[in-house]
Symmetry: C2
Subunit: 399 residues, 2 copies
């Protein structure tokens, strides 16, 4: 770990088994952990103003370097005072490296849907992947663009995030062991190039998180965990494929998390389902980002305390006509406080923007409540029973 | 006029020439006039929650009978406590008759775009128009639907609006004098059927406005104004084509408005551009509804004090990059208070929901400010100079 408290200080405030609460002290204020981080993919959390996201209690959002690199471009954002100034967000900000998106273009199978993008088929294409970096075509105008460890760091410097993520190859699920091994080694060389560039030219107050790769292979994950831990990063993220299903994901996480330095802040990339968040917290992970709550909202799906249906309620399905109840009893969000399932299901089927917005507010409230109450439970030494209650169908705020 | 103060009382509070201020006392509270009425086409003002529309100061919204008839249907809305209960709006509500939309299907040329619908080509089709009513196919599922004066009143009764509009034929611009004359006569017979049904079965506290047709023809407009005025309605609306361009529209309005009873509340249907609102107010009209502010928002266009560009600023055009100014200096809306043109133009081009929402908030704030200040100016006997200032490029709130 680099010891530069000005840049990022992670304070662990309570422990309950391996789970812990903490505070990430960033250049733009504290982030209480465990924390869920909403995506502000293209400089906005879908349908919400920055002040509203803060109003929900969120202390950090994640900006997507790939999308912002393609449009409006780093120069324009730098001139606006960085992504903070551009989007009017004065709390903490983390940016990804662009790696996930460009490798999704190349590999296809990394994600069913490139994070945060609502349209399919407009993601451009990858022209070449090499040691130097990745060349791809802009989905916007077909222009040839190049991204490398140095370019990624440079763009993230322009974005001025409080935490930058290193440029890595997000190995796909279908990659074999040999490919994953070679890819992980390249990711490590890229990590060094990122840190070298950042040490020389990065902003003094921007922290850098390394990314642990290695696919589903224990030895590769261990090798990667050791390499990244020794590299002098401010925190660690777990990336790449975690397996074909939830069982394998839990297994890979269960073996990888203990390989990371206990006291470092740990970010689990791209995971945000209710049960997965609880599993991650139990493993001592601190920060989680995911497109799920806002993507579900776009498709008319609300988070509910229903473990048998993956905590989801599809409001576009029939059966909600005349239902005078809220999405979830006791939920403090504006959708639940002011509207019933009857109206929300109609609005969702009519594809009204108001529905997307109300469901975004609901889903983000739901996860924020989950994290807030998880933190309280950890402080009370009661995380296991809290987790069991939620997994058993309790609302996040009801225990 | 029917004298049932319980249903609707219109109180004129000040006069300045022909312009006047007033209060429409409805079963759901007062509406201060002159008033602009946002469209809640499908049970929501685009992208906004009902509480937010009230927060902007609006006291009445307009629901579209045609759209709500097709989906979710009057029975479901009635069970929710009417449109007020369904959408969570506790202030005044006016509903149109469905006539404008079904005749748009039939005539094509009535409107460039059917009010409030974002998609083209999904408006269904008209099967037959007769004395009894209009048969058409649902754009939703192709089902055969029938709307008549009685059905329209019945649906509006289910919606429970404070003001219902009678079912009329909205004659298209390209209709000739003979067609318009015959159509206007049928509209009058439909008016009688509407009132007859409503007298017998309509809610006691729902007011009914008649609609004056007659196209661009002075004698037909006069005949219609006399017929509707004598029919025992609670207020009058001016409908139908007002001509090929703004000059002809002003001419038709200028001759029609004085034909209406001075003390009746008067609604100008479907008109909402800044200069047209001021012209309407000068003619003693009280209430205006229009899709323009929300439709423009969807297309990235903001209202600005720029008479040479029809008071519009297209944020999707280039030229706003790096512009650190708000859409309009001094505008109290959240878009102008918190964001600059640089960011808003990027968001609009990226087609982010947040942009549509922020521009809706801006455009509706702009028109609300225009109406609020117009009312103050009328109270001060200074409407002409206020109007001249705004038409000369002053912001609505700056004089």
């Amino acid at each position: 770990m680099r010891a530069e408290p000005d840049r990022l200080r992670f304070e662990i405030t309570a422990r309950d088994g391996i789970a812990r609460t903490g505070v990430l002290h960033t250049a733009h204020g504290p982030v209480h952990t465990p924390a869920f981080i909403p995506l502000a993919t293209k400089g906005t959390v879908r349908g919400l103003e920055a002040r509203e996201v803060a109003g929900l209690g969120y202390e950090m959002v994640l900006g997507n370097t790939y999308h912002l690199f393609v449009s409006p471009g780093p120069e324009r954002i730098a001139k606006a005072g960085g992504l903070h100034g551009f989007m009017g967000w004065d709390r903490a900000l983390i940016t990804d490296s662009g790696g996930f998106q460009v490798f999704s273009l190349a590999h296809g199978g990394v994600a069913n849907e490139v994070k945060g993008s609502g349209r399919k088929g407009d993601h451009g294409s990858v022209v070449s992947i090499g040691e130097e970096g990745v060349r791809f075509r802009s989905y916007r105008d077909g222009a040839s663009l190049f991204i490398s460890p140095e370019v990624s760091m440079q763009v993230q410097t322009a974005l001025g995030s409080d935490i930058a993520l290193v440029f890595d190859e997000c190995t796909p699920f279908h990659a074999d062991r040999d490919y994953t091994a070679r890819s992980t080694e390249r990711t490590h060389r890229w990590l060094d190039r990122c840190l070298e560039w950042h040490e020389r030219e990065g902003p003094a107050r921007q922290a850098v998180f390394g990314i642990v790769q290695g696919g589903v292979h224990e030895d590769l994950r261990r090798e990667s965990a050791e390499y990244v831990s020794a590299a002098g990063v401010d925190g660690l993220a777990i990336g790449g494929t975690l397996g074909r299903d939830k069982a394998e994901m839990r297994e890979v996480l269960g073996m990888t998390a203990p390989m990371l330095p206990v006291d470092a802040p740990k970010h689990l990339l791209g995971i945000g389902e209710v049960d997965d968040l609880l599993a991650g917290i139990a493993l001592g992970l601190d920060v989680f980002d995911c497109a799920v709550p806002t993507r579900l909202a776009r498709h008319g799906v609300a988070l509910v305390p229903d473990p048998d249906n993956r905590f989801r309620l599809d409001l576009r399905k029939s059966g909600h006509e005349g239902d005078r109840g809220p999405i979830v009893d006791g939920c403090p969000c504006p959708a639940c406080q002011r509207h019933d399932r009857d109206y929300l299901s109609y609005l969702s089927r009519a594809e009204e923007l108001t529905a997307v917005r109300l469901l975004c507010l609901h889903n983000l409230t739901y996860l924020q409540e989950l994290m807030t109450h998880a933190r309280t439970a950890i402080g009370d030494g009661a995380f296991d029973s809290y987790s069991a209650a939620v997994l058993g169908g309790a609302a996040p705020w009801s225990t």
